[in-house]
Symmetry: C2
Subunit: 394 residues, 2 copies
């Protein structure tokens, strides 16, 4: 048996991977708030307040909006398993790892997947969605807003229109985008969306904000059979989170709700538009600096998710060695590639609290040093200079 009685003393990190990002100190402090009972009137007011803040960030008036007691993947599963019944046709956009995960979960729910594919690093094309919707006549169309494996930000407005016209429900995965780019559920006509707390919301992982339109709720209420998951059954969660009498379902994590509440306060105090602009500015500076030191972004301009930049690892550069030295010498975490991008891409996240001018300059300086050590001929400071130019223009 492993024994470990020592207090935890992890080394300080600057988290510039695909999430978790650095949590706001205010959020960490909020977690020291003592427990409350799950039916305590004071806790129910905190739940209601948290849901109210969440609606603002989601851009929705959806009544059924709440944080699921699990991580982003639990949100994905809750979004799908409540709506998809055995035999249901589901169109899934797959242009990266997480689109594949959606398809996997749909199949575990007994749904029949029609995949709309695009190469990793590209966006899904609206005409391909239109063709699939026409042939499959789906109950649900699922699209990822920001693909965490590729750094593609998917244009949603045209696809939304196609889906709405077909009468299908429109689901978007906002795990990586929420709080860093507008998701605007109601304006876009998105029926189902979910996210995680540890990316652009700047909190710890552990909760999955989720929202269902009234049409989606109706689909859940009209199911022929029970939802296959009890834990994620929105009928039961609805009764606890928004029912007239709050009916016990499970003991939600007060600490994580406190943390989410505080992280949403931080988000809204900054202001959504200012926050989106900050994510865009820092990403633009990162891309300029990276290009200057010979690191090419994988995603074409206009489709880059500003919270997650993917970089083509140059020939002759050892992926793992560079990432290990970033951790060991600089305390900086960036992400490696996932799936077919393993060993080929770096994923540099600038999410929430981690999206700062300081971190852009820091990671560029560190990468420049490590590339120079690996024999790349670089004019000293060229990356930082290119990034700084973007900041001065802003």
């Amino acid at each position: 048996m492993t024994q470990s009685y020592d207090e935890l003393k992890p080394s300080p990190r600057v988290l510039l991977g695909p999430g978790p990002s650095d949590a706001s100190p205010r959020v960490l402090k909020a977690m020291t708030t003592p427990m409350l009972g799950y039916l305590d009137g004071e806790f129910i007011r905190i739940m209601d307040g948290t849901v109210g803040l969440l609606r603002q960030v989601f851009g929705t008036a959806n009544r059924l909006t709440l944080p699921v007691s699990g991580t982003g993947t639990a949100g994905m599963e809750a979004a799908l398993c409540n709506v998809v019944e055995p035999g249901d046709a589901v169109v899934v956009g797959i242009n990266g790892y997480f689109g594949g995960r959606i398809a996997d979960i749909v199949q575990r729910c007994g749904g029949v997947v029609t995949a709309v594919e695009a190469p990793w690093g590209s966006a899904i094309r609206v005409e391909d969605v239109a063709a699939a919707v026409k042939s499959a006549n789906p109950k649900l169309v699922a699209i990822i807003h920001a693909e965490t494996s590729t750094g593609v930000l998917q244009p949603l407005d045209d696809i939304s229109q196609v889906v709405r016209e077909s009468g299908a429900l429109f689901l978007t995965d906002c795990v990586t985008s929420l709080g860093g780019q507008p998701v605007d559920l109601d304006r876009r006509g998105i029926d189902i969306a979910y996210s995680g707390t540890q990316k652009c919301l700047g909190g710890p992982p552990g909760l999955a904000p989720i929202s269902f339109s009234d049409r989606a709720v109706e689909a859940i209420h009209n199911r022929a059979d029970k939802v296959q998951s009890f834990y994620l059954d929105m009928n039961l969660l609805e009764a606890y989170w928004s029912g007239e009498t709050r009916t016990y379902h499970h003991t939600v994590s007060m600490s994580l709700v406190y943390a989410l509440h505080e992280s949403l306060r931080v988000v809204l105090e900054e202001g959504l538009d200012a926050r989106y602009a900050r994510h865009e500015r820092n990403a633009k500076a990162l891309v300029a600096g990276a290009s200057a030191i010979g690191l090419k972004p994988i995603v074409g301009e206009g489709f880059r998710a500003p919270m997650l930049t993917t970089i083509d690892i140059p020939d002759g550069i050892d992926d793992v060695e560079i990432r290990n030295r970033l951790i060991d010498d600089f305390g900086i975490e960036i992400g490696g590639g996932l799936g077919i991008f393993k060993g080929k891409a770096w994923r540099i996240g600038l999410m929430g609290e981690s999206s700062t001018q300081r971190n852009v300059l820091l990671v560029l300086s560190a990468l420049e040093k490590l590339l120079a050590d690996a024999g790349h001929k670089l004019e000293a400071g060229v990356g930082v200079r290119a990034a700084s130019e973007v900041f001065s223009q802003a």
Copy 2:
């Protein structure tokens, strides 16, 4: 839309309900530890250390031991949905609310339930389990160790023997018992067990420690089809938590893992035997004091779970009014009845950090005052005196 920009300032509480219990200040502080990446070598060492501590508290050498990223109910679902395949026969002991929940989840997994029932407040009888096992020839037998709805502590040794002889897998729900009473998986031959962090472990809710014997793991590996839940698929969780190469599955909540690690340190520093004895002593004093003020325990001696005492609400006493006054006047939460015990039972938890001599005397004093206010003729201090006698004998 509800707006809430205010900082959270909940009133102080003494949590003597069915969970959450008061979290240790050390545990709350541990949650302020900054995030680490989910594949950071330092985080993986923390995961390994946490699992090592967890094995000690579970009393097992089971390799597949880890905290599921959800609450106790997620643990219940993970325990069942990985093992139960469509058509599988499952014997479920039902003598309270949570036995019924197990049966519900088994059915959502396509399993066929044979219920072994006992009245609420009584234990399941071994001869009834033996008869059900004989007739149903189940793959799995599921029994609740401490029924959180009734306060019954189920004797497990005889049932375990019956189940082992049948060749079925033996599952026990240890949500309320773990850390407050010995669960001793290996000694008892329990194949599958799960718990929550917010009861006798003294942490915040949000994780569900779980453990599978090698036989149970084999059953999972030999499934005909994929587990219906991706999020709770132990094949994938196993690869992340204990695989040679830690394969990404979901972003676990660092903060909750830090909290669990610290709460397990607190548990093991006290020592398991000392901790069990403390829970027993305080429950004994509570029962003595409650009886002295006319509050009868529902569960017979010898079957009382020391972390949760259920009380028969006396005739003429308004359940909700008393509980509201406990909260409003004293800041004390006790639990109301669940299911058929609604309005009929109080559930007084003395779990983890909440199980103290101080809290016993406090809740008895408060209840005595409120009963006197409601017209019960009581000699002042009689409850506290009876409890104090138990403490002096200890």
